[in-house]
């Protein structure tokens, strides 16, 4: 079963050095998951000042600056993983470096038909 791990963190909480070290640790985790066959995809996201939100209302495109919701912690990256059940996914989420200071939200990925083969 596929799970998406959404990595939330106060994006101003890290210094530049801490951020770089967090990327290195996260890449290391991705390598480990890859070695155990649990890795599908992962990446950090650029910070929320680069975010753009789009809505279509009455056929009109509303484009606004900023993330979907202003929250204390922001979506900062993701892992897409293979895990046999939620306990295994929780175990992996606990290994994400940001889990120590931020929050990892686990969402099961729905299987629908009609998607292109990756």
């Amino acid at each position: 079963m596929k799970y998406m791990l959404l990595v939330y963190l106060d994006e101003n909480a890290l210094s530049e050095t801490e951020r770089q070290s967090c990327y290195r640790d996260s890449a290391k985790l991705a390598q480990d998951l890859n070695a155990s066959g649990q890795y599908i995809d992962a990446s950090p996201l650029e910070l929320t000042p680069t975010a753009t939100s789009v809505r279509l209302r009455n056929g009109k495109r509303l484009v606004t600056d900023g993330p979907f919701a202003e929250t204390h912690e922001q979506l900062g990256g993701y892992y897409l993983i293979n895990a046999k059940d939620l306990d295994e996914a929780i175990g992996i989420a606990a290994r994400v470096p940001v889990a120590r200071m931020g929050t990892i939200e686990i969402r099961p990925v729905m299987e629908i038909s009609g998607l292109p083969e990756s």
Binding site: K84, D85, L86, D87, I90, G91, P108
Partner: protein, 417 residues
């Protein structure tokens, strides 16, 4: 077949339902991989038994018979539902094969299934109120109506809560497993929390007219006994001991009119000696393991109270010592408050009052009625009547539960006279 055989089989089945239905369900959930399918299958199996046992007699191992019948009923159901679909055939085959391969379920296998059921219902990924509802429904076999009534909510609300929890178990794939050794301590803590919450709701209901709802306490104790049988961890023993020792005072802690009677004023001859003996033995067993935690310490405190023949002969030094240990293990203002009351008994009211005032001064427990009523009581003993009155009034303004409010009003009136 005559009338008496039919009645006889019905009675035997009723007994088996009471003692075995949770075990049968726990195993069927594992075999069928789904709560709802397993529940339907179990009920189908019991109806089939009513017919077949009248004709063929009661089988040697009724539980194995019911599990096996339930499994085949489920396969029939799935076949009928998907008559024109072939996509489920591999799944049906898998259940069928599992049926053929499965040896007669032995004692250990069955007991593992019951643990799986408990850990799944108390999974931390479920909402706390859903854990409680699901545990009472699936592990204890209470009806939705009974649970709704106990928690002062409507059956549709409660049913919805259970449906959502089952959907999360299925969709997020919460496993039907006893947690791994490294996860076990954290996961067991959640199970113990659920059981203690059920007990407390029965022992001192958070709202409503009656101070207690004994049915829920009985269920919690039954759960505690079951868990002790399946997983005799020191804290499991500690929690069971704590519940038994509290339960031993039930008939002494309220008057026939439903008024609260404080520990020090209780008629100790009403305490249930059997429960005390059982609880105390469990405390000793857990303490000797050297692996005990906060439930065992709280039970040890209750055991010290239980062995005192009168409030005045309570070993307060021992109680203060146990509270200090508990505070070190789980620092919390409520534990500190309880410790302060014990210190007041050991060293005098002003020593206790000093601690309570320091808790309130840092802004902790300011909205907790028991902090103010404890403060009021110590002020009263010290002759500081005006302060006592102010604190009782504050406590009364914060108390939610009717008997507690009546108790505080009575104290306040006594002060004025």
């Amino acid at each position: 077949m005559n009338e008496s055989t039919s009645q006889n089989v019905r009675k035997i089945l009723d007994d088996i339902y009471r003692t075995e239905s949770r075990r049968v369900l726990a195993t069927l959930i594992r075999l069928l991989g789904d709560f709802d399918t397993a529940e339907d299958a179990m009920h189908d199996a019991f109806s089939a038994a009513l017919d077949q046992w009248q004709r063929d007699g009661v089988p040697a191992n009724p539980r194995a018979w019911l599990v096996s019948a339930g499994r085949f009923k489920a396969i029939d159901q799935i076949r009928r539902r998907t008559k024109f679909e072939t996509s489920l055939e591999p799944f049906i085959e898998q259940i069928g094969n599992a049926a053929a391969d499965e040896p007669e379920p032995d004692h250990e296998g069955i007991e593992d299934d019951r643990l799986r059921l408990i850990f799944t219902c108390c999974h931390p990924a479920l909402r706390p109120d859903a854990r409680v509802a699901l545990t009472l429904r699936e592990v204890c076999g209470l009806t939705t109506e009974e649970i709704a009534h106990a928690f002062l909510t409507t059956p549709p609300t409660l049913a919805q809560r259970i449906v959502r929890a089952k959907a999360k178990i299925r969709d997020a794939r919460i496993p039907y497993e006893v947690p791994s050794k490294e996860d076990l301590p954290d996961r067991l803590e959640v199970v113990l929390q659920v059981i203690y919450l059920v007990f407390n709701e029965g022992y001192s209901a958070s709202s409503g007219d009656a101070a207690t709802r004994p049915d829920l306490s009985d269920e919690a104790i039954r759960l505690g006994r079951l868990l002790k049988e399946l997983l005799p961890d020191p804290e499991v023993l500690g929690l069971l001991a704590l519940m038994l020792l509290h339960e031993s005072r039930r008939s002494a802690r309220t008057s026939p009119a439903g008024e609260i009677i404080l520990l020090e004023d209780q008629n100790r001859s009403l305490w249930n000696r059997e429960l005390i003996a059982e609880g105390t033995a469990l405390v000793e067993r857990s303490l000797s393991s050297q692996q005990f935690g906060p439930y065992t310490l709280q039970a040890a405190i209750a055991a010290v109270h239980a062995e005192a023949s009168a409030a005045a002969s309570t070993d307060w030094a021992e109680i203060v010592g146990l509270y200090s240990l508990l505070l070190r293990m789980t620092p919390s203002p409520v534990v500190e408050l309880n410790c302060a009351v014990a210190v007041a008994m050991r060293d005098g009211s002003s020593a206790g009052l000093e601690i309570i005032d320091s808790i309130l001064a840092r802004g902790d427990l300011v909205d907790y009625h028991l902090a103010h009523s404890a403060r009021a009581e110590l002020c009263r003993r010290l002759g500081r009547t005006e302060e006592a009155r102010a604190s009782y009034e504050r406590a009364l303004a914060l108390a939610q539960q009717e008997p507690e409010r009546r108790f505080l009003e009575k104290r306040l009136n006594k002060l004025q006279s």
